[in-house]
């Protein structure tokens, strides 16, 4: 069973980099709150990992006006899908 990594801060805070360093192949990463800024292509380009499944919480994407800017690699999801991800993964780790 894969891990769900929740990233709630922009990349500058270091949590996303940490997540990338320790995540296992096929883990899921969900960007919420200010973490959705990690879903921008310029930020992901520096990520150097292709083996993670990326998601961003739509409510937070929409609030920040970045709907059209989010990378196509990132699946924008709603709260129900967030719940599904939690069901499908264990453990769940939050990175600030």
């Amino acid at each position: 069973m894969g891990t769900l990594h929740i990233v709630n801060k922009p990349a500058t805070r270091g949590g996303f980099a940490r997540c990338l360093a320790v995540a296992s192949a096929n883990d899921h990463v969900l960007f919420i709150e200010d973490g959705v800024y990690c879903a921008l292509p310029a930020v992901l380009a520096g990520a150097r990992r292709e083996d993670l499944l990326l998601h961003a919480l739509g409510t937070d994407v929409h609030a920040r006006g970045i709907d059209v800017l989010v990378s196509p690699q990132v699946e924008v999801i709603d709260e129900r899908r967030f719940v599904d991800l939690v069901v499908a993964c264990r453990p769940i780790v939050t990175w600030s």
Binding site: T3, R18, A21, A23, S24, R90, P91, V93, W95
Partner: protein, 120 residues
């Protein structure tokens, strides 16, 4: 009741606020409840392990001293991220309690092996 494997990732330095000591208390309580507790100190969290912390004048609880209690509460699985130490110019000799050095891959494995992960 189930015994869970609980991993705590400590990423913050000791005296920014109440959070560090509160996290330590949560670790101790997990030990009291006989859970399988593992703690990894990483990023600025490695500063919590530094010896000779003296908070007398600050008037706050001493995190370094508190960490020494972990052993008594049966929390013995302590790890420290080697790269975080190195980036900060610290070595095992600078540390208050013995923690096994690990790297990012190992931390990833520890995450996978646990049921619950709390980050601080």
């Amino acid at each position: 009741m189930n015994k869970k494997r609980i991993l705590i990732l400590v990423r913050s330095p000791p005296y920014a606020g109440a959070t560090s000591y509160e996290t330590l208390e949560a670790v101790l309580v997990a030990g009291v409840f006989e859970q399988a507790v593992t703690v990894v100190f990483m990023d600025d969290g490695v500063f919590q392990l530094v010896r000779n912390q003296d908070t007398g004048e600050l008037g706050v609880r001493n995190v370094g001293k508190g960490l020494r209690a972990l052993d008594t509460y049966d929390v013995k699985e302590l790890y420290v991220d080697g790269a975080s130490l190195q980036q900060r110019g610290l070595t095992a000799a600078d540390l208050e309690v013995p923690a096994k050095p690990v790297d990012a891959v190992h931390i990833g494995n520890l995450i996978r092996l646990n049921d619950v992960v709390l980050t601080s």
